[in-house]
Symmetry: C2
Subunit: 146 residues, 2 copies
């Protein structure tokens, strides 16, 4: 469903949220340790997100990634689109180039429905909410205990 990059990206951003409530910055190493993701690969994703202004970053000692005031209400949908683009939400389920209401593929309506449910879910969820689930212990971002 989501690409690896997107999975790491989502986990990373939720992690940053869950740890840096009061302006504390987190380094890539910390983050990747916390979410059990490959360091340099995840760094690239975060850099891309920073470029797109979905997260903030500063270099130098005590620098790292953090979430600014303006980024506080980020939705999951924005994150997914920033990393994976909109291919998950646009385009035909069977790969037809010109699938439309008028010339639908055989699963057009059902697929559309699934997709809209997914888009709805992603657009409703804020990172803040998700982070809260982690800090409260209800959810986790890494393999624990087993």
């Amino acid at each position: 469903m989501f690409s690896k990059a997107c999975e790491y990206g989502i986990r990373a951003v939720i992690y940053i949220w869950s740890k840096s409530t009061h302006g504390v910055k987190l380094g890539v190493k910390d983050i990747c340790k916390g979410i059990d993701a490959p360091e340099f690969f995840t760094a690239k994703i975060l850099q891309s997100l920073a470029k797109q202004d979905l997260v903030s970053s500063t270099k130098g000692p005590n620098g790292g990634f953090y979430i600014s005031k303006e980024q506080e209400n980020m939705r999951l949908l924005a994150l997914v689109e920033a990393i994976d683009g909109d291919k998950l939400f646009r385009g035909c389920g069977l790969g037809l180039k010109h699938c439309s209401e008028k010339h639908p593929c055989p699963i057009h309506d059902d697929y559309k429905n699934i997709r809209e449910n997914l888009a709805k879910l992603l657009s409703e969820k804020t990172i803040k909410e998700l982070a809260k689930e982690v800090t409260s212990g209800k959810a986790t971002l890494t393999t624990i205990g087993v």
Copy 2:
């Protein structure tokens, strides 16, 4: 969502269904022309499906691919699983190795819901139904008119 191989495979099987109601066999070339898919690549997919007994085939003149009596009630789910495996239906939305009810990722429940809807859709749809939509002109498998 689905891989290219899966898209071509689904289209191919629906096409076979829609054209070979009375035991007529269709060659790969015909099929690929009919669904606007790359020939050799799609051939591989059909061969794999034949090996897995989801479609039937015979070699030689007037040979080709067809659907046997036993394959008549094939569900879309079986097709997708045969080509893409179950990765779409199993595994965590955020890629966690040990995500479970007990140790869920932050989107566990919602993702599970989406996934179950998808699985339900795919397990309910028969290829026969989908083919009927094509033969009746309600749906299409290729780019038309534009």
